[in-house]
Symmetry: C2
Subunit: 431 residues, 2 copies
């Protein structure tokens, strides 16, 4: 083993700073943990002039060449985010036989498989524990601890921003716009929160999780996504009455007929472990054929939690270096499975409507649902307005295409004044 393992950090934003801090904090521990010192060799930034408190400025560079051409650098930690130039840098690092640790979900969800191939070719590690659910150990447990299971289902709350918004809406009765504003004011939401609130961020993470769990290459383009911007305080109130909370759930299922991967808001029964995952916490719920149900819970983002996952990977690379066994666990995708179209996926649905208040309306709505193979599991009519009534339905498991047809038929009917909300419902309300 080398005396010193030298690490380059690409990007010194929130997570990069966390990585730098942990390397300082753990300085004395590394020799015991990996049999070598671990030190920061270089830090790649865009602006070398910017003051950076507590950082050794002699390590700062804005030239990739300083890193890629430095043969003493063993590990490249990529925490810039985005596809380019991260992809080029990682590719070149692997081509130069440098190990890579990344937190880049966009890149891994899109190009993870080809990069893992390249890593294997060069006998390098390419680790990405931090790309999903921040500090929570989930990639390594799936690849190793649960490796003897057929994983049949994953359900994750993997976006802290939307979970914080939904928690505020649930606990304080806020509307979406106000909760989003609060989240922005608190600095939790990005300047452009689209990727979070529209479920794209969660979509990238579930693509990665599904690939690892099902041993099959799922990319972001395979994922159906819906966000939370249409969820109203009223829907949340109905959810409560039905013994549920609304969460943005990233789901992947592995059934005999194919793989389903999607992100949608969902009614989750209160007794389900995911229902009590609140604020900006994340959790990943897994069902394995031998394991049964399990859940992994913790901080899905933030400087030190994310850096904790990255540094766990760095320590793994170092231990592999000591035993000359890098690339020991690379890409674990070896299956070929069909991916289901969203139209073929069965779901339960919550449907909130505004109907004309006259005899025969409900019978007609019910018959529209049933003629499309959608049966009504529950129905609640509580609020009446002059001439109209708010009626909500829980529709039993039905294929999305049939459900959509029922909805479009309903929309065309003159006594259906409004289809106000459509939200998916967890398969087992009696969980």
């Amino acid at each position: 083993m080398k005396e010193k393992v030298r690490v380059a950090i690409l990007g010194l934003g929130t997570v990069g700073s966390g990585v730098y801090k942990i390397i300082q904090k753990q300085k004395e521990e590394f020799p015991f943990k990996v049999g070598a010192d671990v030190e920061v060799a270089k830090i790649l930034v865009r602006n070398t002039k910017k003051a950076r408190e507590g950082v050794d400025m002699s390590l700062i560079t804005d030239k990739w060449e300083d890193i890629i051409n430095d043969e003493s650098i063993d590990i490249v930690v990529e925490v810039m985010g985005g596809i380019e130039p991260a992809k080029t840098y990682i590719t070149e690092a692997l081509e130069h036989d440098k190990h890579v640790v990344t937190a880049n979900k966009d890149l891994i969800a899109e190009h993870g498989h080809e990069l893992l191939e390249l890593a294997k070719e060069h006998k390098c590690d390419l680790l990405f524990e931090a790309a999903v659910a921040g500090g929570i150990p989930i990639i390594r447990p799936l690849k190793q601890c649960l490796a003897a299971n057929k994983i049949t289902e994953i359900m994750g709350i993997v976006n802290g921003t939307t979970n914080f918004i939904l928690t505020k809406m649930t606990d304080e009765g806020m509307e979406f716009a106000d909760a989003l504003q609060l989240t922005t004011d608190l600095g939790y939401a990005e300047a452009d929160p689209t990727a979070d609130i529209e479920g794209l961020d969660a979509g990238r993470k579930i693509a990665i999780l599904a690939s690892v769990a099902f041993n099959f290459r799922v990319t972001f383009s395979d994922v159906y996504t819906e966000g939370i911007s249409n969820i109203s305080a009223k829907d949340i109130k109905y959810a409560k009455e039905l013994g549920c909370v609304i969460k943005l759930i990233a789901t992947a299922k592995n059934s005999d007929t194919g793989i389903e991967v999607r992100v949608t808001p969902m009614f989750i029964p209160k007794a389900h472990p995911l229902a009590s995952v609140n604020d900006s916490f994340n959790a990943v719920f897994v069902h394995g054929d031998s394991l049964g149900d399990a859940m992994f819970y913790g901080r899905g983002a933030g400087e030190l939690p994310t850096a904790s996952a990255i540094m766990g990977d760095v320590i793994d690379v170092c231990r592999n270096m000591a035993f000359n066994c890098n690339a020991r666990i690379g890409c674990t995708c070896y299956k070929d499975l069909p991916i289901k179209s969203i139209n073929d996926i069965q779901s339960k649905y919550f449907v909130r409507t505004l109907l004309e208040d006259r005899p025969g309306t409900l019978a007609s709505v019910a018959s529209t649902f049933s003629s499309n193979n959608a049966s009504i599991d529950q129905m609640v009519q509580k609020t009446k307005y002059p001439g109209t009534a708010e009626v909500v339905f829980i529709i039993d498991n039905v294929e999305e295409s049939l459900f959509k047809r029922a909805i479009s038929e309903l929309r065309a009917m003159h006594y259906v004044k409004e289809i106000s909300s459509i939200i998916r419902v967890h398969n087992d309300l009696n969980y």
Copy 2:
């Protein structure tokens, strides 16, 4: 890599049968997962005559020599339990350069460190993910994913039998004896449930967890244990009123003044993630300096969940064999830390008393507590009997020795008719 990895199973009880089943179920997958077939070479049992459904009887033996002298056997899976002969077999297996996977918490909690040394000497893996919390990945996440953290606290619900009993007492108002009887009738409790209900089983698991998390050798003899047999339905009712549930908690803390390791019943605030871990589920809550709070939840026992953890270890051994890097992660204990005596540990306490109902009694009790540095955080007096009143106190953080002195002074006072219950309380009731 060899074409076939050959596994011997020691013991064919519940968990051994699970291991056998998973090896059959995953037959087609092993070549993709580890680059080799994995097959059962021999199964060691006490009674070779017993019929065993679905098991290839030609593999059954009652002679350890058949296994230890068979050079084609690469991995020994020990699922017999107990200290001997398991310790001898594991020792001999390692001495014969065979890798070992075990679920034996008694053995690992007592002799884990010496066995890990022996494994290292022989460049063998000795893995024990299944020894703590059954199917839940916790040893590997602590050793790898969280390796860059200083873990400061672990709190676990790691005994399913007691958690099931406490859940029944909480949900259905049962008394301990009835809930234990139900648990026995359902086949969840052992014939002799002492190790479970007195916290010994949990004590062994927390010794292992503390060793792994704190990089320091903690053995079972370092663990203070209290069981749940004194918990009454009345205590559980008071817990509810205080916004808590009572759980049997295995705790390990790593503070500047030393390490605390203990198993005790505890009031847990309802908002804490551990509070909603019910029935026979287990969970391990971890706090790391970088990670923050995290929790691992799932099945802590049972045939297939425990076998899932064992087979995850077996797959790890195979992957190490393929890269010739066995013993890559062995004993991770390199620190020397003081272990605190239970007398020096600070706790909050719930104290239920029966006091003479006359003026001055409460003032006198309060003064006894305060003269021992124990301050009353909350006090509830609800039930009056002729001449006496039931009064409960929540006592703020105080050293156990001082608290005990206060209690023994109280017991000596004629107006204290009874100290009915003493139960520890989670540090943060407003969690």
